[in-house]
Each structure stands twice: as structure tokens, then as C-alpha cells.
Amino acid sequence: MLNVGKIEEGFVLDHIEAGKSLSIYHHLQLDKLDCTVAIIKNARSNKMGKKDILKVECDINTLDLDVLAFIDHNITVNVIKDGKIVDKKELALPKEIRNIIKCKNPRCITSIEQELPHIFILSDEKKEIYRCKYCEEKCGKRL
């Protein structure tokens, strides 16, 4: 069993679907932060069988919870202070996401208009479907 030490201040993202941690690492732009990051892949999990975990030693406010919720709202976010879990953040699908994914419809105005943000609106919460604000092209939630 591999042991990764405790962090003093930061957050632990638990219950990440096995194999998704690197994608989350990139989407949260953790590569741009100057802090300690532990990526644990394929950890044993009673609930999931296998899971990934991310431990990040930095201020919780640097984390974009909307991005995380869009990627997978089942991830548990543990906020750590003085080496202890002080809070667990609930993730809910964001109503709107901005510049996380790009509209793939070649007929969409986002393909030509300068500096137009790529905005997707949650159109079906049950099926986790987002649609481009401009052309209504469907986008599945999973990245």
C-alpha cells in the first residue's frame, strides 16, 4: 500500500472516477500553481472499486468548483486546515459554464466571432445535458 502524507492546508478531491485525475488536474489548471500536488491513481475504494484522489496544498479559493462540478459532481471535496478536514463541499451541476468546453458546431457563431466566450447552459439536469447558449448544440457533460 502506497502512503502519501497528510497535507496541512488545501483540499483533497476524493472519489474521482479512476483514470480521470489527470484530466481534472489540467482542467483545474493545477499545473499553473506553484504548490504541492499528489495524484493518486487507482486507489482501492469500497464504494467504487477503484478511484483516483488529488491532494492539493493551496488555498481552497483557488479551486474553481464549477469546473469540478461540471466534470463530475460526485467528487467529494474535503477542505483541509491544520491537517484536518474542516469542511466538505457539495458539488452541484452549474447552471452555466463559461470557456470550459468549446462548441463543436462548425455553423455556430462562436467559430468566427472574436473573443466570444463559449457559454453552455444546463438544459436537462437529469440527463446532464448542456447546450451552447448561441446555437443550442448539445454537449454531454463528460469531458
Partner: protein, 325 residues
């Protein structure tokens, strides 16, 4: 009974309204809009100077005769004037100007703008940056709300109400934006039964049939037009549009799949009405034009009335009021 209170001075509105989709208006607001359109139909001279001194900008980045001329006729009928361009090549888009910049400039010249663009969502981008009301006059394969308003007004005017009928939609149900918009608008009315008539390749998209199932709205999908003709109250014909195909071979193969002719019309009810967003190519034989059930040219006239009503409403010359006893 007239439901509108006309004001001669444009009032400052807290929220300026645009029209991007037919669903932007509630059913009640649409009723008021259609009441106004019918009043215009019956009392045209009353409206002849309503928009005097006002300018409509028709910004058409994509060729269109019918829709552009309908908008222009609507504004001229109201006593206003028209400026604009009729293809992207004669606009600053050819120099690379963004839609956002164009509408900011147009806002300085005109009081209201009707925009057609080949890119889906372009009128919405314009509406976000505009200081004047923007009407989506068609954005690619996405929306064409004023066509839908035209279709609804035609149905309501010729049948007396919206609801309690069977409508067959025939032709290109996959790419046809007018069909998608019309279905989305009609599901808000009671007891509308849809029959989709198309070749396998041009079936109505899954998201529409899913939506109908979720709302418990009855529909059928068939390939042969003849078999369902006797059951229809409306037949909405559409053109297979060359510009929506990436592949010329597919277009050629499918373009003549349905042709409505006298023989097929003989199978229909005596009061069934044929609608078509036009332009027609050869999906409706010319011999059908003289049939009293052919309503597609009346539909064009209703298009002008509804655009007049829309311009008045968005410019706030027509303010919906509570009906008096």
C-alpha cells in the same frame, strides 16, 4: 375588442426586448401579438404613419428575398424607412468586422434591426451588444422565429384557433429549421397531433421526438404522404434545401422525394390547408396553387402583418393592456 393602447412617444423601457426564438413570447403575449396583426389586417390605414421617422436596419449576411422584403414592406407599411445590406459581401463583414461591432454601429443609425446570418446564434450575439431591439430573421439551421409567428398567425386566422388539430409536416424534417421552430411553438397549444412525413434520411431529430414523448404529445412518423392525407387538418410542406447539405449527391437523391399534386390533394379533407414557408421548388406542383386549400401565398401576406405587429411591439408602440369588459 382592441387589446392595445397605442402611444405616440416611445417610452423608456427597463428591459428592451429582442426576438430570438418564438418561445421568447408567452402564449398570452403571442395572442396579443396576433390580435394586433389581425387588427392591422383589417384596419391597415390606421397604422400607416405609426413608425414615421423610425428606421429599420435589415442586416442580411445571407441571401434572402422573401424575409427581407417582408420586413421592409412591414416597416414601409408603418410609415417608417429602411436601411441595410442584403449580403455579407456588401457589409463590413467582408473586411472582417465582428457581429458585435456591426450592431454597435447599426444601433447609431437605426431604431430596430432585423438580422439574418449564416452562423447560428449570430443575432443573439448582436442582441447582447445592441442598444436597439434585434429580431432574428434566421440564423443558419437554428431558428427563424418570424416564420414561426407567420405560420401560427396563418393557422389561427384561417382556422380560428391554435390547437385541436392534426398537422402533417412533410419533407426535410432533419435540417428544416422552420419545422423545428413550429413544432416547439405548437406544443404549447392543446391537442395538437403531429404526423412527420419524411424519408428515413431526413427524419425529425431525436431531441424533438424525445421532447414530444416527455410532454406526452402524440405523434407518428411515416414515409408515405398518401396514407395519411385524409386525416390531416394542415399539411406543412417543406423544401429540401441544397444549402443545408454538405454532400451534393445526397441532395440530388432526396430533393424530389415528395411532390404534392392534384391526385394527393384529392385524398385530403375539403377544409384541409396546405402551408409552405416558401420558396417552393417542385415539392408542390403548380396545379395545386388554384386549389382553395392552398394557403401558402396567404401565409406570405400574414408574414407582413405579423412583422408589422412585431415591429410595433418591440418599438413599444403597442403596449398590451388588460382587455376591458
Amino acid at each position: 375588442m382592441l387589446l392595445f393602447d397605442f402611444v405616440t412617444i416611445r417610452k423608456e423601457s427597463i428591459i428592451m426586448r429582442h426576438l430570438m426564438s418564438p418561445l421568447d413570447f408567452t402564449v398570452e403575449e403571442l395572442d396579443q401579438l396576433f390580435d394586433l396583426a389581425n387588427d392591422i389586417e383589417n384596419n391597415m390605414p390606421k397604422y400607416a404613419k405609426m413608425c414615421e421617422g423610425k428606421k429599420l436596419a435589415t442586416c442580411f449576411y445571407e441571401p434572402s428575398t422573401r424575409t427581407r422584403l417582408s420586413f421592409e414592406a412591414a416597416m414601409l407599411n408603418l410609415g417608417g424607412s429602411v436601411i441595410g445590406f442584403s449580403d455579407a459581401a456588401s457589409s463590413s463583414a467582408s473586411k472582417g468586422e465582428s457581429v458585435s461591432d456591426t450592431i454597435r454601429v447599426i444601433s447609431c443609425f437605426a431604431d430596430i434591426c432585423a438580422m439574418r446570418h449564416h452562423k447560428e446564434g449570430a443575432p443573439m450575439v448582436a442582441a447582447e451588444k445592441s442598444s436597439i431591439p434585434v429580431i432574428n430573421a434566421g440564423d443558419g439551421g437554428h431558428q427563424h422565429p418570424t416564420q414561426t409567428l407567420t405560420d401560427l398567425l396563418t393557422i389561427r386566422s384561417l382556422k380560428g384557433s391554435l390547437g385541436n388539430f392534426t398537422i402533417g409536416l412533410c419533407g426535410d424534417l432533419k435540417f428544416g429549421r422552420t419545422v423545428h421552430s413550429l413544432i416547439n411553438a405548437l406544443v404549447r397549444y392543446p391537442n395538437v397531433h403531429f404526423i412527420f412525413i419524411s424519408p428515413q434520411e431526413l427524419r425529425v431529430p431525436d431531441y424533438i421526438t424525445e421532447m414530444l414523448r416527455e410532454k406526452n404529445i402524440s405523434y407518428e412518423e411515416v414515409i408515405r404522404l398518401e396514407e395519411i392525407m385524409p386525416r390531416l387538418d394542415f399539411l406543412y410542406m417543406t423544401r429540401v434545401q441544397r444549402e443545408r447539405f454538405f454532400n451534393e449527391e445526397d441532395y440530388v437523391r432526396l430533393k424530389d422525394f415528395y411532390i404534392l399534386n392534384k391526385e394527393k390533394m384529392a385524398l385530403a379533407k375539403q377544409d384541409m390547408l396546405v402551408l409552405h414557408p416558401l420558396p417552393r421548388v417542385n415539392e408542390i406542383s403548380v396545379e395545386v396553387d388554384d386549389d382553395p386549400r392552398a394557403a401558402y401565398f396567404k401565409q406570405v401576406q400574414y408574414g407582413v402583418y405579423v412583422r408589422m405587429a412585431l415591429i410595433l411591439t418591440l418599438l413599444e408602440y403597442a403596449k398590451p393592456t388588460t382587455p376591458q369588459e
